[in-house]
C-alpha cells in the first residue's frame, strides 16, 4: 500500500514540475528584436548560418563559415569591393611591385588598431604568415595558400628551413616587404584571403592553446567584434557581431549588431523568415518554386563548378570520341532546371562565368571562349559510334562514382539515365559513397567516371586550369596533353609579367582541354535565398567570405 502510493506521488510530482516548467514565467530572452518604435529602423541584422563556426583561428580556417566571420571581424591588407577588385584595407595604398614582380612593398595605415587598443603593425602580418606555414601549427590552408607563392613557404612547411626564412619582413611598423617565389599575378587578390590576415603576436602567445577557442580569446581589427561565441558554452550555436567602434573605418559601418543562429533545416529557416525573426534564409530546391517570383527571392551565382572527371586509365575513356560523346549527351538544362532548381546554370567550359575578365578588354572569360561543350545528343551519338568502332567493341561498361546526399543521388540517377539512353551499348554502374570515401577513391584513381566539383582559391583562371596539368596532384584522371601542359607552364613562368598574353594562354588552354573532353562540365552552382528587401548594401563575393556586411544597412 505505502509503496504504490509513493509511486503515484512521484508521478504526480513529476507532472506538476513539468507543467510548472512549461508555464514558467521567467521568459527573459524570447522577446528580443521586436522593435516597436516607428522612426528610423534599428540597424540590427538577423541571419542564419547552416553550420557553426568551426574555428576563428585564421591559420586553421578552411570552410565558408569560418572565412565569413573572420572576414567580418578581421581585416587584412586588402579587401574585395563590390566588383571583386582588391581595395586597400589595412594597407594604406596600392602595393609597390618590383620590376621582376617578386618584391612587394606595402605601406600600412597608421590608424588601424586591435580591439585591445594596440596598433596593427607590419610585424603582425609576419607573425601570422609564419605561423600559418609552421609545421608545428598543423594548418591545412597555410601551406595550400602560401606554398609556391611566398618565398620559402614550402621549405618552411617541410621543416627544412626555419620560419624566419619565409619571404615576409617588417621593415618598420608601417612597412611590409614581401618576397615571392616567382611573380604571382593573382597575389593581390590572395592578400584579401582569410589565411593572410594579421595576428597580434603578444596576444596569441599569451593565450597559447586557448587562442580563438571563444570570443573572449580573440582580438579583432575589422568592422565588427564577435561576442557571445562559445562553441563549448551554454549556447554553442548562436553568436553576435557588434560594431567595432575602434575600427579605423567605423564611420562606414552602419549596422550596430548582427545576430547569427545556426539552422540546418530549410523548413525551419523559411518558417523563421516568414515570422520576421530573421532577414535571410537559404532555400533548397523544393522551396525555390514557391518563392521564385517574390521580391524576397534572390539567386546568387557562385563561381563553383561541377563536372564529371573521366578517368583515362579506363580503356574506353582513353578514347577521345567516347569522352566527347559522354560530355555532350547529358541534358544539362534539365539538370539545373528540374533537379537543382536553384538558379544554377549549365557549365560549358572549365572556367565559370563571371569570374575573371580579360585584362585589356574587360570581357568575361566565358564570353570570349563561348560554349565549348554543349548538350548535343545527335553529335554525341556520332562520336559514340565512332568511338566504339575505334575500340572494336559494341558495348561499354563504366563505373560511376558519386556522392550520397539526396541531391547527388537524384542527379547521378538522372545522368546515368541520360548516358544509357543516348549512348547505345553503354552500361553505367553508379556507386554512391560518403564524401570522405569519394575523396579517398579519387586520390587513388579508383573510378571511371566521377561527379566532382571545385571552388576557386584566388581570382585567376589558373585556379581552374592548373589542376588539369599532368603533374598536378589534383589531376587523378590520367589526362596528359603536352600542349596543355606547356600552355599552363608558360602562363606560370615566362608570361607572368605579361597579363594579356598570359590570359590568352589560359583561353587557349581551356579550348584544348575541352576539345580533349578531359572533363565533362555539368553546371555552375547558384544559391537561392530569401533576403529581406529592406536589407541593403550587402556585397556578395566570388571568393573568401561569401558576404561582406561592412556597408550593409536596414532601409526604412
Amino acid at each position: 500500500m505505502r509503496k504504490s502510493n509513493w509511486l503515484l506521488l512521484v508521478f504526480g510530482l513529476v507532472l506538476t514540475v513539468f507543467l510548472a516548467a512549461c508555464s514558467g514565467g521567467d521568459d527573459t530572452s524570447s522577446d528580443g528584436g521586436e522593435g516597436t518604435e516607428d522612426s528610423a529602423p534599428e540597424q540590427v541584422l538577423n541571419i542564419l548560418e547552416s553550420a557553426q563556426i568551426p574555428t576563428m583561428d585564421s591559420a586553421q580556417a578552411t570552410d565558408a563559415v569560418a572565412f565569413q566571420f573572420l572576414g567580418e571581424t578581421m581585416e587584412g591588407l586588402y579587401r574585395l569591393d563590390e566588383n571583386a577588385q582588391p581595395i586597400p584595407a589595412i594597407a594604406a595604398g596600392e602595393p609597390e611591385i618590383s620590376e621582376d614582380g617578386t618584391e612587394w612593398t606595402i605601406q600600412l595605415r597608421d590608424d588601424a588598431v586591435w580591439s585591445n587598443g594596440e596598433p596593427v603593425v607590419a610585424a603582425d602580418f609576419v607573425f601570422a604568415w609564419r605561423r600559418a606555414v609552421d609545421p608545428q601549427t598543423g594548418s591545412e590552408y597555410g601551406p595550400f595558400m602560401m606554398n609556391g607563392v611566398l618565398k620559402n613557404a614550402e621549405a618552411v612547411n617541410k621543416g627544412e628551413v626555419p620560419v624566419e626564412e619565409l619571404g615576409v619582413e617588417a621593415v618598420s611598423d608601417t612597412e611590409l616587404k614581401i618576397t615571392l617565389e616567382k611573380p604571382v599575378p593573382y597575389f593581390h587578390s590572395l592578400l584579401t584571403f582569410g589565411t593572410y590576415l594579421p595576428l597580434n603576436e603578444a596576444f596569441v602567445t599569451e593565450k597559447g592553446e586557448d587562442y580563438a577557442l571563444n570570443s573572449d580569446n580573440l582580438l579583432y581589427n575589422g568592422p565588427f567584434k564577435l561576442t557571445e561565441w562559445d562553441p563549448t558554452g551554454e549556447n554553442p550555436e548562436q553568436w553576435t557581431l557588434v560594431k567595432n567602434a575602434d575600427y579605423w573605418d567605423a564611420e562606414s559601418v552602419k549596422l550596430e549588431k548582427i545576430n547569427v543562429s545556426v539552422v540546418k533545416e530549410t523548413s525551419t529557416a523559411v518558417n523563421l523568415y516568414n515570422t520576421d525573426e530573421v532577414d535571410r534564409a537559404g532555400l533548397s530546391a523544393e522551396y525555390v518554386e514557391k518563392y521564385a517570383g517574390s521580391e524576397d527571392y534572390k539567386s546568387l551565382p557562385e563561381p563553383t563548378l561541377f563536372y564529371l572527371k573521366l578517368n583515362q586509365s579506363n580503356e574506353a575513356l582513353a578514347n577521345q570520341n567516347i569522352r566527347k560523346a559522354i560530355a555532350m549527351s547529358i541534358g544539362k538544362q534539365d539538370l539545373v532546371d528540374v533537379i537543382l532548381a536553384n538558379g544554377s546554370i549549365p557549365a560549358t567550359g572549365a572556367v565559370p562565368k563571371d569570374f575573371t575578365t580579360h585584362p585589356e578588354t574587360g570581357e568575361d572569360f566565358r564570353e570570349i571562349n563561348g560554349d565549348l561543350i554543349t548538350e548535343d545528343k545527335e553529335a554525341a551519338k556520332d562520336f559514340w559510334a565512332k568511338g566504339l568502332e575505334e575500340l572494336g567493341v559494341d558495348s561499354v561498361e563504366l563505373g560511376y562514382l558519386g556522392g550520397d546526399s539526396d541531391v547527388a543521388l537524384e542527379m547521378d540517377a538522372y545522368i546515368k539515365d541520360q548516358l544509357e539512353e543516348n549512348l547505345e551499348g553503354l552500361t553505367v554502374e553508379v556507386v554512391s559513397v560518403p564524401f570522405e570515401e569519394r575523396i579517398s577513391r579519387n586520390e587513388k584513381g579508383e573510378y571511371d567516371i566521377q561527379n566532382s566539383g571545385w571552388g576557386p582559391d584566388y581570382l585567376d583562371p589558373n585556379t581552374w586550369l592548373e589542376m588539369w596539368t599532368s603533374t598536378s596532384p589534383y589531376m587523378t584522371n590520367n589526362y596528359n596533353n603536352e600542349e596543355y601542359d606547356s600552355l599552363i607552364a608558360e602562363a606560370n613562368n615566362e608570361l607572368l609579367t605579361d597579363p594579356v598574353k598570359r590570359y590568352e594562354n589560359f583561353l587557349e588552354a581551356e579550348k584544348v582541354l575541352m576539345e580533349d573532353a578531359a572533363i565533362a562540365p555539368l553546371y555552375q552552382r547558384s544559391r537561392a535565398y530569401l533576403w529581406r528587401p529592406s536589407v541593403k548594401g550587402v556585397i556578395f563575393n566570388p571568393m573568401g567570405a561569401d558576404f561582406t556586411y561592412k556597408h550593409a544597412y536596414i532601409e526604412e
Binding site: F18, T55, E140, K158, P231, E237
Partner: protein, 309 residues
C-alpha cells in the same frame, strides 16, 4: 546490494574497455583523414599535418596512447572544431540533449501510462479504441512529421510558441511533445496489454472477492505487476532519447549532441567519435544498472544479489 553494485561497476569497466577497443579499430578502418579541406590539401602537406598529430604512427601505438590519455580523463581535442577539448564539447551539448530527452521520456510515459491504464480498465469501450488509435498513430508516424506540423501550425500560423532554438521553457514545449509521442505510444500499448492480463489473473479475482477497493486493486495489485515489462523497454528508450535525436534537434535547431556525433563519423573526427561513443556506452550501462535495481524495488520477488538471504 552494495556488493552487487560493486561487482556491476567492475563489469562496467571491462565492458567500456572492450567498447573502446572495438570502436577504435572500427574507426581507424574508416576511409580518409580528419582533415577539413581534404580535396585541396596535397598528399605531402597532409603528411606533415598527420605527423604533427601523431596520426601517422602505427595503429597499436595510437591505441595505447589513446588509452593512456583516457585513463587520465583526457579525451583529446576535436579536429573539426579546431582544438576545442572533447570533454568541453560533450559537457556543453550532452546536457541539452539529456534535458530534452528526459522531459520527453517523462511526458511520454506519464501520458502513455495514463492512456494504457484507461484503455485496460475500460476495455473495448470507446476510450480503449481511442487510446489504441493514438498509440498506432504515435508508433507509425515518425516524430519529424509531428515536429514539422507543430512548428508550422503552432509556431507559424498561431504564433503561440517560438519556432526554434533552445533556452527558454517555451522553446522546449514543441520539441518535447514531438519527441514524447513515440514513448507515449509504446508505453500505452505495453501497459494496456499487461494490465489486461494482470487484471484477469486469479489473485485479482481473489482481491475483488475480498472486497478490496477498486483503486487499490488497480494501483497496488495491478499496476505494480504490469510495470515490469514496461521498465525493461524504458531503459534503452531512455538512453536513445537522452543521447540526442538527430532529427528533432535539427528541426528545432537545438544544439544537442545528436548531430555532433553523426558529423564526427562522417568527418573522421576521431577524438569526438571516441568521446561520444564512450559517453553513450557509459550512460547505457549506468541506466541498465538502474533498471536492474528498479526491478528489485518494484517486484520484491526479483532478488539481485542471488538468493542468499
Amino acid at each position: 546490494m552494495g556488493k552487487y553494485i560493486l561487482k556491476r561497476i567492475g563489469y562496467m569497466l571491462i565492458t567500456l574497455f572492450i567498447i573502446a577497443t572495438f570502436s577504435f579499430i572500427l574507426m581507424k578502418m574508416l576511409p580518409g583523414s580528419p582533415l577539413t579541406a581534404e580535396e585541396k590539401v596535397t598528399e605531402a602537406q597532409r603528411e606533415i599535418i598527420l605527423e604533427k598529430y601523431g596520426l601517422n604512427d602505427p595503429i597499436p601505438v595510437q591505441y595505447v596512447r589513446y588509452l593512456g590519455n583516457l585513463a587520465q580523463g583526457d579525451l583529446g581535442v576535436s579536429f573539426q572544431m579546431k582544438n576545442q577539448p572533447v570533454t568541453d564539447i560533450l559537457m556543453s551539448r550532452a546536457p541539452i540533449s539529456a534535458e530534452l530527452g528526459f522531459w520527453a521520456l517523462i511526458v511520454g510515459t506519464t501520458f502513455g501510462m495514463l492512456l494504457g491504464l484507461i484503455a485496460a480498465i475500460r476495455q473495448n469501450s470507446w476510450m480503449d479504441y481511442g487510446s489504441n488509435i493514438i498509440s498506432v498513430i504515435g508508433i507509425s508516424i515518425p516524430s519529424f512529421i509531428f515536429a514539422g506540423l507543430l512548428q508550422y501550425y503552432i509556431g507559424v500560423q498561431l504564433g503561440w510558441l517560438p519556432i526554434a532554438f533552445w533556452g527558454t521553457p517555451q522553446q522546449a514545449i514543441m520539441p518535447v511533445i514531438a519527441l514524447a509521442i513515440f514513448p507515449m505510444a509504446i508505453s500505452a500499448r505495453f501497459l494496456r496489454t499487461e494490465m489486461i492480463e494482470v487484471l484477469g489473473s486469479d489473485y485479482i479475482v481473489t482481491a475483488k472477492a475480498k472486497g478490496v477497493s477498486k483503486f487499490a486493486i488497480i494501483f497496488k495489485h495491478g499496476l505494480r505487476n504490469a510495470l515490469i515489462p514496461l521498465i525493461t523497454v524504458m531503459g534503452p528508450m531512455a538512453v536513445s532519447l537522452m543521447t540526442g535525436t538527430l532529427v528533432i534537434e535539427k528541426i528545432f535547431s537545438i544544439p544537442g549532441i545528436g548531430e555532433q556525433f553523426v558529423n564526427s563519423v562522417t568527418t573522421n573526427d576521431f577524438s569526438i567519435i571516441m568521446g561520444t561513443t564512450l559517453f553513450f556506452a557509459f550512460l547505457f550501462i549506468v541506466i541498465i544498472l538502474i533498471i536492474d535495481i528498479l526491478y528489485g524495488i518494484i517486484d520484491p520477488r526479483i532478488r539481485l544479489a542471488g538468493g542468499k538471504d
